[in-house]
């Protein structure tokens, strides 16, 4: 793709329009990734008012569409979720309408494109610089299948760009260009360094020198990002900026340098040894998004920014529960997240041995933990997150007014009264967690019910206790946090409605917070509670 990369600056539109000729039309193809529920291109950059010809090529085995939307009324980027939700709410009519709701936010859309087919639409990009989300409105896809049309002003490509093409013999590192004899030279009016011009000539052992002028829009720090296979060197004003000599698989290197406003000489030496050849170079300065100085390939590994480090590897739950153990925000370092088919999820805390989180919608994004060193806690990917707290579920209390037992602290030795025993999967791969406390064996199983899409989602938590030496004054903490009793249910933190069966819930205020505790009464050495959490608030 040769579209320019652009900037969302609050520039005066009139001055912009009078100063610049109309932007060149842009043609772009967005593909769907097979079996990944994702577009291959999640960001399209165009100048305001650009005529865009967009092809949605569906390489997946499910039908998908692409619906381009205005930003949400409050100006936030909801990734088109509001429009997608309106599509889901069409119910049966949705099929007939191809999941396109009547919604003022829609700017343009494709029809529902069947697997391995494509459709092309043409539209004019809005005049106002902003991110315009696009999304697949097929029910259930929107959480991960979205992107943004970025409308804004661009960092320019290279002025007066020239190339010289060389061939060599068995190149294994950057050659001394002064000693090479050029085969051909010419201009690149696109202003982007292309290494594919002679690909019909040979695939191995060649080199390019590119020279031109970079027009810096202001004084400041500019960061350059470069990856090359086999190798390349970037020089600005004759000075080395990045040297990535081969042969190595391509990796992005970056370097920040200070440049003054105006033109600077840019030179790149690139060489190819054998097999894969690639060259990517982009630049950025504060206030402008990153802009390519090479033809930007959408299928190439992009340099990761902070956002990309934590988003983009959603763990999709298909027909059986999926487990993800890691550092999970709202739980802790021993989080065991379970995503159930139907769009209901839990996170069980193996430090506290208690349920920590429940939520609806998408499960978890593994990008943070599966990139680089995997630092930090990752929150749930879905919505309707009920944060049940990091608390012990069982405790012996002196009386029913005594404060709840302290939680396990991460930096303290483990309380030997509680022992985690792991989990076992049933035939449907649904885990049952097991632990014991003072000789009481406890199991917890979760059964999702209803459906997230129809707004009837709930999850049933079945807690079974057994012991041959009953413990006196044993209590189970059902809820801790903002609780509002409503009929026979408790609304928790305005998120979920909770009903409790199998015990006598005692709502109390303790140390300044609401709690619902259950005295544990053993019958024939057994006790059982069923706690139901529903997002359908009463």
């Amino acid at each position: 793709m040769n579209h320019p990369t652009c900037l969302a600056l609050a520039l005066s539109l009139t001055s912009l329009l009078s100063a610049d000729p109309p932007p060149a039309p842009v043609t772009v193809t967005v593909k769907t990734k097979p079996a990944q529920m994702k577009y291959d291109l999640e960001r399209i950059n165009v100048a305001p008012g650009t005529q865009v010809t967009l092809t949605l090529q569906n390489d997946d085995d499910l039908p998908h569409n692409l619906v381009l939307c205005k930003a949400k009324n409050d100006g936030t980027n909801d990734k088109g979720l509001e429009v997608a939700t309106a599509a889901w709410n069409l119910g049966e009519a949705g099929m007939k309408q191809e999941w396109i709701p009547e919604n003022p936010r829609i700017i343009a859309h494709t029809k529902m494109v069947n697997p391995h087919q494509s459709e092309t639409i043409t539209f004019t990009a809005p005049m106002i610089s902003a991110d315009y989300p696009f999304v697949c409105t097929f029910p259930g896809h929107a959480m991960v299948m979205n992107g943004a049309l970025h409308v804004g002003i661009c960092l320019p490509p290279i002025k007066n760009l020239h190339y010289r093409y060389y061939t060599g013999d068995k190149l294994v590192k950057l050659p001394d260009f002064a000693k090479l004899t050029g085969v051909e030279e010419g201009q690149l009016p696109s202003g982007r360094m292309e290494i594919t011009q002679h690909q019909n000539d040979r695939s191995d052992d060649y080199a390019y020198e590119f020279e031109g002028a970079l027009d810096c829009p202001k004084d400041g720090d500019y960061t350059f990002y470069m990856s090359a296979d086999a190798g390349a060197q970037l020089l600005i004003d004759g000075k080395n900026v990045i040297k990535a000599d081969g042969p190595r698989p391509a990796k992005f290197h970056d370097k920040k340098i200070n440049l003054t406003k105006g033109e600077h000489a840019i030179k790149v030496h690139y060489y190819q040894g054998d097999a894969y050849a690639s060259f990517h170079l982009s630049w950025k300065t504060p206030g402008f998004p990153e802009a390519w100085l090479t033809p930007a390939e959408t299928d190439h590994e992009k340099r990761m920014d902070e956002k990309n480090q934590t988003e983009g590897m959603p763990l999709v739950v298909t027909n059986e529960p999926r487990i993800y153990r890691n550092f999970i925000a709202g739980c802790g370092p021993r989080g065991i997240a379970v995503g159930y088919p139907g769009g209901v999820n839990i996170c069980w805390d193996a430090d506290q041995m208690n349920l920590a989180l429940i939520w609806e919608g998408a499960f978890m994004d593994a990008k943070r933990h599966w990139s680089a060193r995997g630092k930090g806690d990752q929150p749930p990917l879905g919505y309707g997150v009920a944060n049940l707290g990091k608390e012990r579920a069982l405790a012996v209390l002196g009386s029913n007014t005594a404060p709840w037992t302290p939680a396990q602290k991460n930096d303290q030795p483990h309380d030997p009264a509680y022992t985690f025993h792991g989990y076992e999967l049933d035939a449907q791969r649904n885990p049952t967690f097991r632990y014991d406390f003072k000789g009481v064996n406890v199991t917890e199983t979760f059964v999702p019910e209803g459906d997230q899409k129809s707004g009837t989602a709930s999850i049933k938590r079945i807690v079974k206790l057994s012991t041959n030496k009953p413990v006196d004054n044993l209590y189970f903490l059902a809820l801790a946090g903002p609780v509002e009793a409503k009929d026979n249910a408790f609304n928790f933190n305005k998120t979920v409605s909770v009903t409790i069966n199998g015990g006598t819930p005692l709502a109390r205020k303790s140390v300044g917070r609401d709690e619902v505790v259950l005295p544990v009464v053993f019958t024939n050495e057994k006790a059982e509670f069923i706690i139901n959490y529903s997002w359908n608030l009463k």
């Binding site: 040894g273 021993r334 930096d411």
Partner: protein, 492 residues
């Protein structure tokens, strides 16, 4: 950059067409040991953290993404016959696998677990926690590396610090022992950043620590009950052991030396084999050894991986005055990624190596890899063993040497050096000594040489390069340098 080598390539050494080779293979080394890469299916990101041999002839590997895969036909001459099957997923950074009594024991960040496929569908369904007795604050550096079981069935877990410097929770910076009945016993303190834990052929437990604070260089270290490995921060949990480990060791003195610290602190265990930083590697991980002889001449020596250099080094270890020490030698370059898991097959026909460069980078350049190394049957001309003697060293060779070249003292070049024990990160080589080398004798079979090294310096690495020693056929040594860590000087 090529991802598969063709015979028509500019490289002159022969390599099989179907097996993609590591990008940095050394043609000379490849004559003797060949690296072959498996091609996992697309849904398998083989960020290998540990490898185990399964009783049914498969291998299993656990990954940093928390998956366990089994590989059928891993020994087949045609590596493309390998068949990958996912056994388990959803675990947390797997850095230890061990098959025991019908269970696959898995050391993952939060716990030692054991897994079983109860219903026989090829996927684990029991995930039983054997022990989760250590704490985690949520720092990415708080890794847990698990050993295989010892003869009594104990599994040892090496617990990395919180970051590089701190032990913010029990038992960070410790080795703990998990008994067969699931009890955790604090075992040794003062670990910094373990990269691997396991045994040596005599059954003793070791780990390797990575260069950083209190570790001027990475090294292989002996773990014994109550031992102190040098990083003082984990000592703060000593009293939680309730006296089981005896008196609390003294904190290491900043800018001290190994020898001084041994005198100062009876629990302090000196590094057994230093892997000199930047000479042979940067970040040691797992190791294994061969007892069959089918992996070449280095029976019972350790092959230890280096994640950063994408290499294997070789270790000869011996015990003098009840203290372990020995030598390391470069062995094989050119692994694809940053190796973390290593397992030798029982029959010695393949050494399985796998890893990931995620977060740290490795010379191999690939983000993940599972590979195998096989001996071609050709014996490389190498230093075989290097033993400490009262006045120097005895070196043996894998094939006969040219006695004239071995008798010439100019064929040898030596340096002795160490590192300060510092609370700062890493540090330079210090206290350098250039010793005098005299050749005492060449063995009658022309496969050994006795050299006198004056002086010998306790606590120093003795780096000896045999640049002029030739084989009977006039060849140079494939790897001419040995690095001997001399903790004790034998009496005879």
């Amino acid at each position: 950059m090529r991802h598969t080598f063709l015979l028509t390539s500019l490289f002159s050494f022969a390599i099989s067409v179907q097996s993609p080779a590591a990008s940095g293979s050394d043609p000379k080394e490849a004559e003797y040991y060949k690296i072959e890469s498996f091609a996992p299916p697309q849904d398998c990101v083989a960020e290998v953290g540990s490898i185990e041999l399964m009783p049914d002839g498969k291998i299993a590997f656990g990954t940093r993404r928390g998956e366990i895969w089994t590989v059928e036909n891993a020994f087949d001459a045609d590596i493309t016959k390998a068949k990958f099957t996912k056994f388990a997923e959803g675990l947390h950074e797997i850095l230890g696998l061990a098959w025991k009594d019908g269970w696959l024991y898995v050391t993952q960040r939060p716990e030692l677990s054991r897994l079983k496929d109860k219903d026989g569908d090829g996927r684990a369904d029991i995930f039983e926690t054997v022990n989760a007795g250590w704490s985690i604050t949520g720092d990415y550096h708080e890794y847990a590396f698990g050993s295989r079981p010892d003869k009594q069935g104990n599994i040892y877990v090496a617990l990395c610090l919180t970051g590089s410097f701190h032990s913010n929770a029990p038992w960070r910076g410790w080795c703990v022992r998990i008994t067969p009945d699931g009890k955790m016993q604090p075992f040794a303190a003062g670990l910094r950043s373990p990269g691997g834990i396991g045994f040596i052929p005599d059954g003793e437990i070791f780990y390797d620590d990575n260069q950083g604070v209190w570790n001027g260089s990475s090294s292989l270290k002996h773990l014994k009950q109550g031992a102190f490995e040098g990083h003082p921060e984990p000592l703060k949990w000593w009293d939680l052991a309730n006296g089981a480990l005896g008196k609390k060791p003294l904190a290491t003195v900043d800018k001290s030396r190994v020898e001084a610290e041994r005198k100062h602190n009876p629990n302090y265990v000196p590094p057994a084999v230093v892997l000199p930083h930047a000479h042979v590697g940067n970040s040691p991980t797992a190791w294994d050894w061969d007892e069959s002889g089918k992996f070449g001449p280095f029976t019972k020596q350790l092959f230890i991986a280096d994640q950063t250099f994408s290499t294997l080094n070789r270790i000869f270890i011996e015990k003098v005055n009840d203290v372990y020490h020995g030598a390391c030698f470069p062995f094989l370059k050119g692994l694809r990624s940053g190796p973390i898991g290593v397992r030798m097959s029982g029959d010695g026909t393949a050494l399985f190596v796998g890893g990931s460069d995620r977060g740290w980078g490795a010379r191999g350049g690939y983000p993940a890899a599972i590979e195998r190394v096989r001996w071609t049957g050709k014996v490389p001309f190498e230093i075989h063993e290097m033993r400490a003697k009262p006045d120097g060293f005895e070196l043996t060779f894998t094939s006969p040497i040219d006695p004239a070249s071995a008798k010439n003292p100019d064929s040898y070049k030596a340096r002795e050096y160490t590192w300060a024990l510092r609370e700062e990160y890493g540090g330079p080589e210090v206290d350098e000594v250039i010793p005098k080398i005299e050749v005492v004798s060449v063995g009658q079979d022309a496969k050994s040489v006795r050299i006198k090294v004056t002086p010998l310096t306790k606590g120093h690495v003795h780096q000896i390069s045999l640049l002029g020693v030739k084989s009977a056929e006039g060849q140079n040594l494939l790897h001419p340098t040995g690095y001997y860590t001399l903790n004790e000087i034998p009496k005879k």
